[in-house]
Every structure is written in structure tokens, then in C-alpha cells.
Symmetry: C2
């Protein structure tokens, strides 16, 4: 009873604070995940913004002497916490991804003799990079500040949706420079820069573009860059092996020459500064044109008030963070709100303020009635991020789906996106999980698009025979190992996706489609080896592949996972899975073994992305295929084991420190897992209206579920020890199952978890 | 008297034929100039059209092992008459220029086993190129036809302003291919292709673009390509050293994969054909976008009637050729109408049917009230081509000037174009001769633009201190040799251009500008060495350079000419020039020596562009600086010598054969010289209203000078021997000078030259 009173008091304090707009961004620590494998960045961005203005601590080439350079992987987000130098501040970064691109338009302030090469980390004075110290670094939501030690310059960054704002505080000098490095980029290789163009419009304004052939095959980002103070001189240098062969001798084109184009350009802008003089830079981006960038700049940052823009950025974060207000320890809040922050970074806005954007067909389109987004890491984010958005960002999720449908409309292949990146498909990872996101939204009633046309898009995508084994899959019921290196996991992922399509078809009353895809959704059975009890890659002739190793992630037909984890990938029909695996007891035993086994060192040698910290027993949380696994105990009649495992994962895999993430945040999926699981429920099978109940780690939470409605979660007697759910009351009535429906959440209400230190069996 | 009657009969026949629209294109021989140095091409284009669809007979790299390959120069227009193979048909060509670019979108039909490399000339079967024979080749204005011997395919080409239309007649085969080579280009080097993109929209339509870094530093040309018959399959191959590093394994992207981007792409489209089956291709171009190209296609060639488009192209040529109707020998007519044809190829239209075009600032602009043009080879064409257009194409010339003024508006340098090429300035050759074209048009009353703003543009261009010695020129009165390798000729060209600016200012009543630039126009005196009687490069300290050689074109401070020719470059004040050179007698002697001297072999070794055929004595007609020289005798009181020399040049420098041009046609300037001179007058100093009288080579001519007015030129007793003017009657009154004014021509009338075989001294 004491606890009930305490919690009610907490809730009251929450409600009060919501009215007074508690400062929640104080709990956001963008530095979380910047060490080792998190692949997050500490710089400034606004929710789902086009600009991610952040320091890059090294510029590592993708290849050295034509060979892949493994060090490059660390720099997916441009920043590694252990580094001691900053090369500069670039304007675009992917958050938490396992492959990379971007890093456009690196800007760096310097003083003294001009240096146009970045120099090396061990000797920062060898180039324009600078040493820095974390003691002089502040990373907040929407704001970043650091002292650049080499030249005693204070750098501050903030952003709007489409414009990065820099503020550099210089010492007094006759030789202040601002470098604009158009060579630098993330995952750079010699031919990544296709072309760059810069036009010096006047003594303080440039426009231009950078065109790359990176992860995105053909991508152009336009910019407009304005300085708060006119430069006295400027210049450019072409670092490519083959400079322009045309006539150029009429001018000295290296200095004060305003029409610049080339493959590997670095520019400098020169100033005289007095002590503590602040030079500010607005860098506006556009996927469409230089005019679009200028228009974006004028619309979003017409003036020069750095603090006002910073405040505006932070207010926008506050607004988004207030979608869920929790109580709990400071550490919990830091983990939770940083997860919220990371979950709200991407997908990213991909259109100008006037609605124009570049489509997959490389044409300019106008977004009518929706905001166009890109950066869809769907293999990751269909699992929990998009379901989360359906609850607390439903309008944005609808627009994201509109964006996917436009991608489909613009696709010569007539396919939905797999990994949408800046008017390109990166085709990364397997499945066609856009169908999951679409089905989930329609089934949960969050669709403002034509659901029948969306279903057509799903069907055409899922029947594109030339795409990664789909033809064989349709003919044989599985993707054969001799046709496709990841045929086993593809089969499993396709089967789940097909179930999503079936659910969508059912909702729309298209029962022929429902029947076809329900049949396909059982294809997971075709790669299950009853003799071993594991999923196992099968060849075209129907035989399983030899040399099976359920532990190995290499050459066994699975992507980013081994058979031990992937054998559990039937999220849409756990009951059938359990039967197939020999019944509840055997199944629980399988799960227990997974969570407690000891992995040999060889496992880590061959597994990308994952450190020992990203693994519990043989359960891999750092990669996604097992994200639903802890919740499967529920379906085998052992919910207390789900509760135990979920809390274990929350504790072990998320910390409020730079090395706090056990694997890539994966564009917010890891964070979305944290948010759901710490609230006490999880979408095991998006496309279903049901969430599985876990074990809440918060003390209390208020979810803003739209139209002024709130869904309140309260825990009684919850603690690090009291992880077992004793009883759940939903709106005053006992909840008799370990699942809750989307409607139950969205209509608002109150859910009270009574917790204890003993499992309720 | 007999002659008078004869000529009147001729005129009558002309008038009658004009009413009946004589077939004049029968006299156009596009093959003239395709052998050796003419740099013309035989393919299909319409007057001033954006598309120049023409065979390329070789693909010569600009560099071999990092060194300039001198053979490439022959292929400025893609075609050399002596070659025995055709590599394919590309859509853009410069006509007669001395540097090159373009050659976009090479298309080639083949049968049999697919070949995606062009092969070598000595073994055409080693690649997709084919042997051909001139006996099976027809080159007409607006139409080109050839038999491709290797595969027995008939290729026919025609064009509209923005669309090339191909018609290939195939044999029966299961293996017909059409190659689209995006690697091929003119003046190609390894890094010239910046990027290409192709989207296969459906089974018969592609859109895409090619982006190059050629002579134009940064240029993108968009296309839409439609086949008259669906292809059964298609594929692409990337020939670059560094192909795309992203994920691509999800599809076999080499075949039937519709979203293609890369640096060095060749594509093939496969068909089955029956005997004599015609496959047609529409290739629409746009400087703006793929949508723009599609729109251009739909507007200009909605259907598939090859013969109708061919007829339309030829009707448009007839219309332009009828601006001047002449009588004379067949050979004369072929020379004359081919000159008209070559004079009406460029500048070229550079905008979509909706008026959109890419500006120098790389932004998209909309041309309001004018047609936007590019391909301004102004160092060549200010001399006679633009003056010719002022007479018979005044509306186009006005639009060309509007285009130049927009170029100026879009220029970060605030300069008028020097060599405008596809939204770039190639900065080729010296001077700022746009001012001559502008002044000439204004002074001749052919200006629909704001002449005061145009004068401002001229002034800012002429005072751009950082441009090729202008700063020194303004300070010292000449461009010093130690600052600039062509300081002597620059000084001469600037002085003439300054005189043009002064004339324009005077016309506008801006006398301060007039005075300033009249003073500058006398700067030619500062590089005249009175001790030798030659123009001579001077150093900053006021001394002339040592080791002077009036014959040499190398290292003497002159561009494309020696001091012997350049010493005569004071077109705006021949009287002062004659005084400076010692009076009329000495001057005539100088000219005589120039035309009769014997040149040593060493001269040719060091002189670009010019064969022995391009030279008479020491007079170089194949390059432009002396184009006015034959007319200078007039000013020294020896007009009969002008008459003699002009006819000699007409005879020796122009023939109706493939090798008929003694030097590059230079974007129509050589042809414009021919047209003026064969009519009997020439604009010695554009910017003046006066034309110098020479010796007409035609029997009679009718010039359509606008508003239905005609200016008729009639010669009495003219023949190869009778080159001397005995008397000139203008509108029934004796003309007492050897000049005629622009007004006298434009108000219409009749000018009768009475000719004889004796000079009238």
C-alpha cells in the first residue's frame, strides 16, 4: 500500500511536470553509443531532421591499396569516443547503422598558416585537424560544443530540419580560416566523390553540391553556405589525380575564383578576427537544388541568433521527448531518454520546405499532403521502431509509409524500399520488410494512404522473381542454398513478411491474396530440420546442406545470425514454432540453453558487429534477428522467464556511458527495443495488434497516445530484484493474459504492474 | 549591254525560283570540310539545333599514358573522311571548332554475337564498329544515310531542334542489338566521364543523363530515348576501374536491371528482326532534366514517321538558305550554300521547348521572350558570322545577345561569355569579343535588349583586372609579355574591343565611357615597334622582348598568328595603322609581301591548325586574325588589290570537296567570310556601320533583309578573270567609295557591280 501511494505521488508529480514541461533533454546523452560499436554520433540534430551536424574524429578510407580497410567500420557515424582529434564538422550522419555513407561538407575553423590537408591523428598539427578533450566537450540534444585545442577555437553547433548552424569563437588573428572540405566523407574511397561544384555568389555566400557514389549508388546533396562575416579572400585546391583538362590559364583559379568544380576539392575562406570574435555559418542542405538549399536557409534560419536556434532545436526535442514521461532512477532516465532521442533521429526528412524532393527515379517530385522521408533501415526498424512510431508518432509513421509508397511508384523495379537512402535503394539486408511496416500501420488503423494500392505494392514486391531468390522461393517454398548464400534466413524472413501481407489482405477483404500469402507464411517449415530441431539451409534438390553448425554465422545460409538464434524466427506463429520444436518444455529448454551457453572465441572472430557485451549466453542482442526471442517464453507458458530475460537484457545491453550500447543502435531499433521493453511490452510480430507483456523497468510512465489521450503505466514494488510480474490491472480490471492490444493502449487508460521478487508460475 | 540583259534575266529567274522555292539544299554538301582540318561533320542537324546527330569514325583518347595524343585533334567533329569505319552515331557535335567536346550518347546497331567494345579501325569486326564505304553514304542538310557493311544494316538519321531520329534497317536475325555507348565521347580522357545514369522506364523507353568534365568543366546532358519496338532483353556493363562498392548482389544487375548508374557504362538492347525490318529510335536531349527531354520528345516528334521528320528538317533548311539566293556556277552554289549551312549550325539552341535551360550558375532558368543559345565561339564569330546574322538572321542574333547577357547575369565573375559551351565558359582564345557582337547589334539598330545594361556588362567585363592581363593593360596600356604569354595579341584584341565599347557608349550618349574606352582603343600603339615596323611584345619595364621573330607563331606574344599577320590587327582604325606603318606606299608593300612571301617549313611545324593549303604567301586564312587583311588595301588607296586578293582567297581556300576547307571552319566564321566576300563586301570592323567593298564572285544575289525587303546584288561581266570592279551602281547612282553602310543594305535596293579584267587604279 505504501508503494501504491508512492507511485500515485510519482504519477502526480509526472502530471504536474508535464504541465510545466519538465526539462527532459537533460537526460539525453548523445555521447551514449559513441564508443566502440554503437555507431551513434554526438553532434546536433533535430527530430528526424535532414541535417546531422557532428564532429568527425577521423577520415578513414574504405580501401587501402584496393583492399577493404576494417578500421573504417568504426567510423560509420564519423566519431569514435577514444579518438583525441577532430578533423572537422560534417553535416550528414547515419545514426547507429552497420554500413555507412554521408559525412558531407566537412567544415573546420583554423588559425595560422593555411593547411589544406587533414593531417594525422598522432600529430594533429600536421593538418587542419585539432586535438580536443572530452572535458571541454558538451553534447546535448540539438547542441554540441567543443574546444579545439590546437588553435584555441570554441566550436558550437546547432541545427534546424535542413540547416546546420555553426558558431566559432576565434582568438585575435590576421590568419583565421574556415576550411570547407569536399573530399572528406564517411566510408570514403577514391572514386566515392563523383563530383563537387561550388559557386561563390558573393563575399559571404556559396552554393554548390556534392555528388557521391557511396552506399547510395548515385546521390547528390546541394548546399547553400552563408558566413556571418565577409571573407577577405578564398581559394580552392583540387586534390584529384586528374584535374580539369580544359582552358584555365586566363585566371589564377586557385584563389578568389568563384566558379569551381572538381572531383576532390578543398576550399578555404580567410578572415581577420579580434579576440573572442564569433564567426557563424549557416549551411543549408537540399536534395533538390542549390535554389532549394537557399530557400531552406531563408525559411528556417533567416537571422544569426545562435542561441535562439539552439533553443528552438531543444524545444523541439522536449516536445518529442514528452511523448513519454517516465519516473525512475537518473540512470534509467538517461538510458530511456537517450533511447527516445536515438529512436527519433531517423528516418530523416528528405524534402525542401516547399515540398520538393528527389525521387528514386532521380526526378524532382512534389510531396503533396505528406512529409517525404528517407533513411529507412527496414530490416532493423520494422521490428520495434515503426511499431513505436505507430503509438507515439502516428502522423510521422503514416508519412514515412507515404514516402515508401512514392518510392515504389518511382521504382522501375516496382518494388518497395529495402534500405532507402537519399533517392536510392541500398538493398541492404534481406526480406521485404516494408510490407511489415505497411501492414502494421493499416491493421492498427494508422493509415491515411490507399491501403489497397499499398497491398498491390506489397504483392508486386513479394513476387519480384529476380530479387534474391524470390523466384525459387515461389517455386520451391524456400530459397535454396545453392542459389543464395543466405537462403535459410531469407526463407524465414520472407515467410514472416508474407504473413504480414496476408494480414493486410484479410483486413481489406482480399481473401485470395490472404490465402496465397498465408500459405507462403508457412514456408519457414521448409527449412526446419526435424532431425536436429534447427532451421537449416536446404538445397534445390531438397537436401539439407552438409557440415551443419548451428553455432556458426558463416556459410550456413543465415545473415547476421546463426541457426541457434534464427531457428526462433517465426514471430508470426510462436505456437506453431513451439509445436514444431517439440513442445513447450523442449522449447523452454532451448531458450534457456540459448541464454546460458558459453560461446567459443571463434564465434566472435567470425561475427560482425558484435562484441562480447552484445551477447548473453548465445543470445545475440547486438543484431536484430533475436529481438523478439526473450518474449517467446510467454507463448510456452513461462512468462516469468520472459520477465527475467528482458530485465537482464535491459541491464546488460544498455548503459548511460559512451560505451553503453552493446551493438549498433541500428537507426533506432535497439533504442526502440529498450523503450518498449522498459515500459513492459513488446511487438513480437508487427502486423498483429498484440504486444507481449514483459517486465517494466520504469517506476511509472505516461504515454501521449494522441487526441489528448494518455496511457499510463504504473509499477508497484518494482526494483532491480522485483522483476517478476505478480498481477496486472488494466483500467481497474485484472489482465488475464500476457498480452495487450494496440486498441487497449490507444484508447488511453491505466495499467498497473504489481511486481515481486518471485516468479509467478 | 548583253551582260546586263543576261543578268537581269538571271535575277528574274531568281525571283521566279524564290516564289517557287527552288531546291537549294541540293547545293549543300555537308561532307565539305570533313577531310583533314575542316572539322565539320556530315550528320543530321536543323538550323541552330541542339541535336547534331552524326557518325563518329573513331574514338581517339585525348591522352595516352598521361600524354596528349595529337591524333585526337583530327576528331573535333567526330568524323574524318579518310576513315573506313564508323563506331556509331552520337548526338552532339561542334562544327568546325579548333578544340572539342561533346559526342554524347553514341548509338550503334549490330547483329550477331553481342560486342560491347568498339573494336579497332584496322579490324572493325573486333568490336561493334562497322566498315562503311562513301559510295553507300548520303549526307544532306538534315539527313544522313550510310550502309554499315559489317552487318548489312542501313542507318538513316534526321533531327529536329532537340530530338535525333534514327532509322535502322536490319536483316532478319534473332540477334539484333542496339548499343548505347555512354563511354564514348569526343576529346575523351579517362576522367572526362564524370557520371552517367540510365533508367529503363519500360520495354521501349529510357531516360538518363551524361555528366562530363571536358572542355566544358561541368556539363550534364539529359536524354529520353524511345525505341519504335520493344526490346526483348537489355543489359549494361560498367567499364570503369572502380565499379560501385555498395550492395548489388540482390539482383543480377548486368541484365534487365533498370536502374543503372556508373562512370563508364555501355548498354545493349536486344531484338529479333525480320528481313528489312526498320527499328527507329528517338533520342531527345535536354540541358535541364530527364522530364525536359521527354517533354521535348513529345513536342517535337510525337509519332514515328521518319520521312515526315526528314522532310520537316529539310524544309527548315530551305527556309534559312532562301535568305540569300544566288546565281552562279554549280561549284559556286555548292560552296556558297554549304557555307550558309555551316554558318547556320551554331550558336545552338540551349533550352527545352518550355523555355527552361541551365544557366552558367548551374541553376535552372526560364527564358522569357527569347530563345537561349550556347556554343559561342566568339573569338572566331564576332568577325563575320554575327555581322552576317545581323543582316539575314537579326532576330536570332538578338536572342543570342540576350543569351550572352543572361550568361553575364549568371556569372559570379560578372563577365560576358568568352566561349560559351553548355552552361560553362571554356575561356578559349583571347579578348572579350562579346562586346563587339553587342556593339555591332546596337549600332546597327538590331537590339531588343536594354542597351545600357548591356554596356554595363561590357564595361565590367573589360575592367575585370584578374582576367588575362587586364589589370596590367589598364595600368600600363598594354599586356606585358612577362605577365602573359600572349600579351601582344591580347593588347591588340583588347584595343579593338575597347573601341567597340566606345562606339556603343557614344550611341547611348555616355560620353565619359566613350572617352575612357576610346583612349584604351589606341593601346595598340603601345606594342608597335617603330624601329622594326612590327607589333612586338613589350615587358613591364617598357622594353620590347628580345629575339624578335616576326615570322614565328611561337613564344612571341601572339596567339594563333605571327607578328606579320597580327601587326595588321587594328581593324577599327586602318588609317591610323597605315600612318603608323609609314604611309600608304609602305603599307601596300607590306601587304604585298605578306601575300607573296615564301614560308619556311619550320613555320608549319610550329603552327597549329593550318596546312599549307590554309596559307597564301604568309597570309594565314585558316586562322582568324587576318580575316580582315585583304580588305585593308582599300584604305591605302589600292582597292583593286583587295579585289584581287579576295577572289584569290575565295578560289584557293574554299572547294566543294571533302578537303575543301583550308582550316577549321571555326563555328561558321570561315563560312561567313566566304558568304560576305563572295557577295562583294565585308565587315572589317564590326561595331562600325560600314562594310568594305571587295569583289563579288556570284553572278547575282537576292538578300532577304527583313520586312519583305530585298537587297539585290548584280554583277555585270564578272568572271574568274574579271575580278576588278570597274563601277558600282547603288539604286541607280554611282557609288563613289569602296564602302557601303548597313542602312543602305537593310533598306533594300539594288547594287550593280560592273566588272572587268583590268584594275581601276
Amino acid at each position: 500500500m505504501k508503494n501504491v501511494i508512492l507511485c500515485t505521488a510519482l504519477l502526480l508529480s509526472l502530471k504536474t511536470s508535464a504541465q510545466h514541461k519538465t526539462n527532459l533533454i537533460q537526460y539525453v546523452k548523445p555521447i551514449i553509443g559513441t564508443q566502440r560499436m554503437g555507431h551513434t554520433y554526438p553532434g546536433a540534430t533535430v527530430p528526424f531532421g535532414m541535417v546531422q551536424l557532428s564532429p568527425d574524429t577521423d577520415t578513414i578510407p574504405f580501401e587501402v591499396n584496393g583492399k577493404y580497410n576494417p578500421d573504417v567500420y568504426k567510423y560509420c557515424a564519423g566519431y569514435q569516443y577514444d579518438d583525441r582529434t577532430i578533423v572537422g564538422f560534417s553535416h550528414t550522419h547515419l545514426s547507429g547503422t552497420g554500413h555507412a555513407d554521408l559525412g558531407d561538407f566537412l567544415v573546420m575553423p583554423t588559425v595560422g598558416q593555411l593547411q589544406l590537408n587533414p593531417g594525422i591523428a598522432s600529430d594533429p598539427k600536421s593538418g587542419f585537424r585539432s586535438a580536443f578533450n572530452h572535458a571541454n566537450e558538451i553534447a546535448e540534444a540539438g547542441y554540441y560544443k567543443v574546444k579545439l585545442d590546437d588553435d584555441n577555437i570554441i566550436a558550437e553547433l546547432t541545427a534546424t530540419d535542413r540547416v546546420g548552424l555553426h558558431q566559432y569563437t576565434f582568438p585575435a588573428t590576421d590568419q583565421a580560416h574556415i576550411i570547407l572540405d569536399l573530399v572528406s566523407g564517411i566510408y570514403n574511397y577514391e572514386e566515392k566523390n563523383v563530383w563537387t561544384y561550388v559557386r561563390v555568389v558573393n563575399d559571404s555566400l556559396l552554393t554548390g553540391y556534392r555528388q557521391t557514389n557511396g552506399w547510395a549508388r548515385t546521390r547528390t546533396l546541394y548546399f547553400a553556405m552563408q558566413f556571418s562575416k565577409p571573407f577577405t579572400h578564398y581559394g580552392s585546391k583540387e586534390f584529384s589525380k586528374m584535374p580539369y583538362r580544359g582552358f584555365w590559364g586566363k585566371f589564377d583559379q586557385r584563389s578568389d575564383f568563384p566558379e569551381i568544380a572538381g572531383k576532390q576539392l578543398r576550399m578555404h575562406f580567410d578572415f581577420k578576427t579580434y579576440t573572442q570574435e564569433k564567426i557563424k555559418i549557416k549551411m543549408a542542405l537540399s536534395p533538390v537544388s542549390m535554389e532549394g538549399a537557399l530557400q531552406n536557409m531563408q525559411a528556417e534560419i533567416p537571422g544569426w541568433d545562435f542561441n535562439a536556434i539552439k533553443q528552438q532545436a531543444q524545444v523541439s526535442w522536449e516536445k518529442e521527448l514528452h511523448k513519454i514521461e517516465i519516473t525512475g532512477s537518473n540512470e534509467l532516465k538517461e538510458n530511456f531518454y537517450t533511447a527516445m532521442y536515438h529512436a527519433f533521429i531517423s528516418p530523416t526528412v528528405y524534402m525542401d520546405v516547399d515540398g520538393q524532393y528527389k525521387g528514386l527515379d532521380q526526378k524532382i517530385h512534389s510531396a503533396k499532403g505528406f512529409t517525404n522521408y528517407t533513411t529507412f533501415s527496414l530490416w532493423d526498424t520494422y521490428r520495434a521502431l515503426h511499431p513505436l512510431l505507430n503509438i507515439i508518432q502516428p502522423a510521422r509513421n503514416r508519412d514515412m509509409i507515404q514516402s515508401m509508397l512514392q518510392h515504389y511508384n518511382q521504382s522501375s523495379l516496382h518494388m518497395l524500399p529495402v534500405w532507402s537512402n537519399s533517392a536510392n535503394d541500398d538493398w541492404c539486408m534481406s526480406g521485404y520488410h516494408a510490407v511489415s511496416v505497411i501492414a502494421d500501420a493499416v491493421i492498427k488503423g494508422n493509415a491515411n494512404f490507399d491501403a489497397n494500392k499499398a497491398l498491390d505494392a506489397c504483392i508486386l514486391t513479394a513476387t519480384h522473381r529476380s530479387y534474391e531468390g524470390i523466384g525459387s522461393y515461389m517455386d520451391l517454398g524456400y530459397v535454396p542454398a545453392d542459389k543464395n548464400g543466405t537462403g535459410a534466413s531469407n526463407t524465414l524472413e520472407y515467410a514472416y513478411d508474407d504473413w504480414c501481407i496476408a494480414q493486410l489482405a484479410k483486413k481489406l477483404g482480399r481473401m485470395d491474396v490472404y490465402n496465397t500469402f498465408m500459405k507462403r507464411s508457412a514456408n519457414y517449415k521448409n527449412v526446419f530440420d526435424t532431425s536436429t530441431g534447427f532451421m537449416h539451409a536446404k538445397r534445390s534438390d531438397g537436401s539439407f546442406t552438409p557440415n551443419f553448425d548451428a553455432m556458426s554465422t558463416n556459410g550456413q545460409g543465415f545473415i547476421e545470425g546463426n541457426s541457434w538464434n534464427y531457428s526462433l524466427f517465426v514471430p508470426h506463429d510462436p505456437a506453431a514454432l513451439i509445436r514444431m520444436m517439440g513442445g513447450k518444455e523442449k522449447f523452454i529448454n532451448y531458450l534457456d540453453t540459448l541464454f546460458t551457453m558459453h560461446l567459443p572465441d571463434a564465434f566472435f572472430a567470425e561475427t560482425e558487429d558484435i562484441t562480447r557485451e552484445g551477447i548473453i549466453g548465445g543470445y545475440v542482442h547486438g543484431n536484430e534477428p533475436a529481438h523478439h526471442v526473450a518474449y517467446l517464453y510467454n507463448y510456452a507458458g513461462a512468462p516469468w522467464k520472459t520477465q527475467e530475460r528482458v530485465r537482464m537484457i535491459l541491464n546488460m545491453q544498455y548503459k548511460n556511458t559512451p560505451d553503453g550500447l552493446g551493438g549498433n543502435d541500428d537507426a533506432g531499433q535497439m533504442s526502440a527495443w529498450y523503450i518498449f521493453s522498459s515500459l513492459g511490452f513488446y511487438p513480437v510480430a508487427p502486423g498483429s495488434t498484440q504486444y507481449a507483456i514483459g517486465s517494466p523497468a520504469i517506476d511509472a510512465a505516461i504515454l501521449q497516445v494522441g487526441n489528448g489521450k494518455q496511457f499510463i503505466i504504473q509499477t508497484i514494488n518494482q526494483s532491480a530484484k522485483n522483476v517478476y510480474v505478480q498481477k496486472i490491472m488494466l483500467n481497474g480490471r485484472i489482465l488475464n493474459s500476457f498480452s495487450i492490444s494496440h486498441d487497449q493502449i490507444m484508447k488511453g487508460g491505466k495499467m498497473i504492474f504489481y511486481m515481486g521478487d518471485k516468479p509467478v508460475k
